[in-house]
């Protein structure tokens, strides 16, 4: 048991915080939300130099072979400043799918380029029909077909909520290549050049101003060689990458919770009404304390899951517990912080709170909201074994015993007898 950041993690945290506080100011976040691109190319190069792009990749792919747990520490800092970047889309969802499922050549080619900042990728998974409910992140939700045609496959259909789809160089597209049997066994991932003929990308206007897109595929030809790994073998690596992505979204929510707590407490201590700081009032204190409960619980679940993943365990339950909890917990924390700020919490021009709560919507929904992950949890509970039972001889101590309002031993205790006088 160890609930502390290691010395290296503290250094990593310090470095990330210094970098992001300088680079990712509130003004910058606003600019990125307002523009079409949604991230800064110069910054992307800088974080490549910091090693953040190849963090988890092996050395022969330009990476530094870092641990998931350490990356979570960096993601926590990203969440703290609402860092807008295609890191999750490119490095984690696409890159890690390639790492988990791609061929050696694909890994070398694509991951090396990602690691040095030369390639932006986006995951095209959700579809118009599936995006209504929990199917969005499940194999059952993938209905877009890829038809074999000579050395190529032809892709047609619409993908939604493709984060950074408009600026990506390559798209990782999930398609249904086998309609019979289990849905998971019929998914193929394609690496698609975003400039291919027949692709149209449109920005969707979202709460958080993040760059989620509609990507339309109209008979797009993709070479067979661009299948990630094997035909029909796309779901396992993608699901694994999405699990990792879920935990990293949680880490961002933890970082944002922590910052909001600091802001709210600071405001409660300095804002004066009725001639006293508003933090004196217990209603205001309650909001601050409840943010602490949201923050700490989210922190524990997030790092518990990250720890399991970094040990190489499947961590299905832990990931679902974390994302299922953090999604709603973060929402509650945002609301609490808003309440402490009062009217100031709602001003759009110079208030920071709306930025956090609007970005919260994306963090909450992306890769599955609370309902989706709660169903994952329930399906893990389905697999739980029968609890172990004691082996001793039955003693019938509890059978048919009425509760005694005053226990039978009380009289003898009053007369001066202790527990040892019990002679039964």
């Amino acid at each position: 048991m160890d609930f502390s950041y290691s010395e290296e993690q503290i250094m990593l945290q310090k470095m990330a915080r210094e970098f992001l506080e300088k680079e990712c100011t509130e003004k910058f976040v606003r600019e990125m939300q307002a523009g079409d691109v949604g991230y800064s190319k110069e910054q992307w190069k800088k974080i490549a130099d910091l090693g953040w792009l190849g963090f988890l990749y092996p050395e022969n792919c330009g990476g530094i072979n870092g641990s998931i747990l350490d990356l979570a520490v960096i993601y926590e800092e990203m969440g703290r400043t609402m860092f807008p970047s295609p890191h999750l889309a490119t490095v984690i969802l696409c890159g890690m799918s390639i790492l988990y499922g791609g061929t050696e050549e694909q890994k070398k080619e694509y991951l090396s380029k990602i690691a040095c900042g030369d390639l932006i990728m986006a995951l095209a998974l959700n579809e118009p029909e599936s995006s209504w409910d929990g199917k969005a992140w499940k194999a059952e939700g993938v209905t877009m077909k890829a038809a074999a045609q000579g050395d190529n496959y032809v892709l047609s259909g619409t993908k939604l909520f493709v984060e950074f789809g408009k600026v990506a160089d390559y798209l990782l597209v999930a398609t249904q290549t086998k309609a019979t049997g289990k849905a998971e066994d019929g998914i193929t991932l394609f690496l698609v050049d975003a400039k291919s003929q027949g692709i149209t990308s449109n920005l969707l206007v979202t709460t958080g101003g993040d760059k989620q897109c509609e990507v339309i595929f109209d008979k797009v030809k993709v070479p067979k060689a661009n299948i990630v790994g094997k035909l029909n073998g796309g779901w396992a690596p993608l699901a694994k990458a999405m699990k990792l992505g879920s935990v990293l979204l949680c880490a961002q929510m933890v970082g944002a919770d922590r910052k909001m707590l600091e802001l709210a407490v600071d405001y409660a201590k300095t804002r004066t009404q009725f001639e006293v700081p508003i933090g004196v009032w217990q209603y205001v204190q309650e909001h601050c304390v409840m943010i602490v409960t949201e923050l700490d619980s989210s922190w524990w679940l997030t790092y518990d899951a990250a720890w399991k993943l970094s040990k190489g365990e499947s961590a299905d339950m832990e990931v679902a517990l974390a994302k299922g909890w953090c999604s709603d917990s973060h929402e509650r924390a945002c609301w609490r912080a808003h309440q402490v700020y009062g009217g100031v919490g709602y001003t759009i021009l110079d208030g920071v709170m709306p930025l956090y709560s609007k970005r919260g919507k994306y963090l909450q929904q992306y890769l599955g909201n609370a309902e989706y992950h709660m169903e994952q949890i329930a399906s893990e509970l389905d697999k739980w074994p029968v609890p172990p039972q004691p082996r001793g001889k039955a003693l019938h101590l509890w059978e048919g015993v009425e509760e005694q309002r005053i226990p039978d031993w009380f009289d003898r205790f009053c007369k001066g007898e202790g527990m040892a006088a019990n002679k039964i």
Partner: protein, 407 residues
């Protein structure tokens, strides 16, 4: 970061688990969070079990061997605690272990330690924590039980109330007023008092949860050796060691066991021809409980881990364990009760009682969950000590104005 146990700790966990599996009867009542209304027969079993566990050192493995423990660390201490909760050991020694043991370690004289610690660790001595008074509930410093020094003795007069009593006790861990002074908490002292000293009398105060009693002190003379720690520093001593009452892994073990049993019940029970666990509402409820149960577990271990870092980090400024525990226990009891519809109100002894009446018992227990401070007081502690929020300083005396102090 590491959210699991070392191989040696896992081995210890299994060893303790084996002990409980073998010693407990196959029909042990498995998942009550609190042991309400234990009768003589039930206590007799728990009393023997706790001495068997004590002989093996499982009651307080974190204490040194001279003190009756195994000389292991706080983590092992937490492991055996969690197991005892998971297997729902109904033994009467909890208050001695959790509440009186820690201050004895820190403030006890060598004689006091020798006299009390081994008996507590071996399960041979039962304690009541006697702090609460009619006018000193949340405002603990307002105690009026008076201890007036008379040569080598103190003479006690006054009353305690809402004292949790799972079984007969041998000793009372008592906070009493030894000086009239402002602020009030500078005039309190801790005493270790033989429960059957002349002049002490008891009256039952049954609640809908645990059994509690009132204690009356009428010219009770105790030797000054009974003083624990420094005179008039009792409140501070108690506060310093309250952390131990607010940490602990036992209840997390109980919560885990209850949840496992509930999941199994929902698999085994059919409604409208389908297992309960397939009902979407029930699935959602169970999933939410799974998250909360895990939070409770992680929170309890966070506190336990913090104890291992005493030298580096000092005392934990705040602990959310009791907040989570109380929130979730109340919420879960209500939800389970609703899941069972009309049957949710049936007591164990009633005809048709589902799930062995456990839901009804848990619901009733959740209604009286005030030990360790009310939720409101616990939140005040987080606001004050955790966040340093400003607060009204307490009035320094009757009629004095309330002032605001920056935190």
């Amino acid at each position: 970061m590491e959210f699991g146990f070392s191989p040696e700790q896992e081995k210890f966990k299994n060893e303790v688990r084996e002990f409980f599996m073998n010693e407990l009867p196959a029909d042990n009542r498995m998942d009550h969070r609190h042991d309400m209304f234990l009768n003589e027969k039930q206590l007799a079993f728990g009393w023997r079990l706790q001495q068997k566990a004590g002989a093996k050192g499982y009651l307080a493995p974190g204490w040194s061997k001279e003190e009756g423990g195994l000389g292991l660390g706080d983590i092992e201490h937490g492991i055996s605690g969690e197991e005892s909760g998971y297997w729902n050991c109904t033994w009467p020694t909890q208050q001695g272990l959790r509440v009186c043991g820690p201050p004895l370690h820190v403030f006890g004289t060598p004689e006091q330690k020798k006299k009390f610690l081994p008996s507590i660790a071996q399960g041979k001595m039962v304690w009541y924590q006697t702090f609460t008074e009619p006018n000193a509930g949340s405002d603990e410093a307002n105690m009026q039980l008076r201890a007036i020094q008379d040569g080598d003795y103190f003479v006690l007069n006054g009353q305690k109330t809402f004292i949790t009593a799972q079984s007969p006790a041998d000793y009372l861990y008592t906070l009493a007023r030894t000086k009239d002074v402002l602020p009030k908490h500078r005039g309190l002292s801790l005493f270790l008092i033989d429960a059957h000293t002349k002049g002490i009398s008891y009256r039952p105060l049954p609640t809908i949860g645990v059994f509690t009693i009132e204690i009356f002190f009428d010219d009770v003379r105790i030797h000054k050796d009974s003083l624990l720690g420094e005179l008039n520093r009792g409140f501070y001593h108690a506060m310093e060691t309250f952390a131990f009452e607010r940490t602990g892994t036992i209840d997390a073990g109980r919560a885990r066991r209850h949840f496992e049993e509930l999941v199994q019940y929902c698999k085994d029970t059919k409604r409208n021809g389908k297992p309960l666990i397939q009902d979407p509402e029930v699935r959602k409820m169970l999933a939410e409980m799974a998250m909360e149960e895990r939070i409770e577990w992680l929170c309890s271990w966070h506190g336990q881990w913090y104890l291992t870092q005493k030298e580096k980090l000092g005392a934990q400024p705040y602990n959310l364990y009791a907040i989570f525990k109380k929130t979730f226990l109340t919420k879960h009891a209500e939800e389970e009760s609703r899941m069972l519809g009309m049957y949710g109100q049936l007591k164990k002894v009633s005809k048709y009682a589902p799930f062995d009446g456990r839901v009804e018992a848990a619901w009733q227990d959740a209604r009286s969950f005030h030990p360790e401070g009310t939720m409101e007081i616990l939140k005040n502690v987080v606001a004050d000590r955790g966040l340093g929020l400003p607060r009204y300083s307490r009035p320094e005396g009757p009629g004095k104005p309330v002032t605001v102090k920056q935190g």
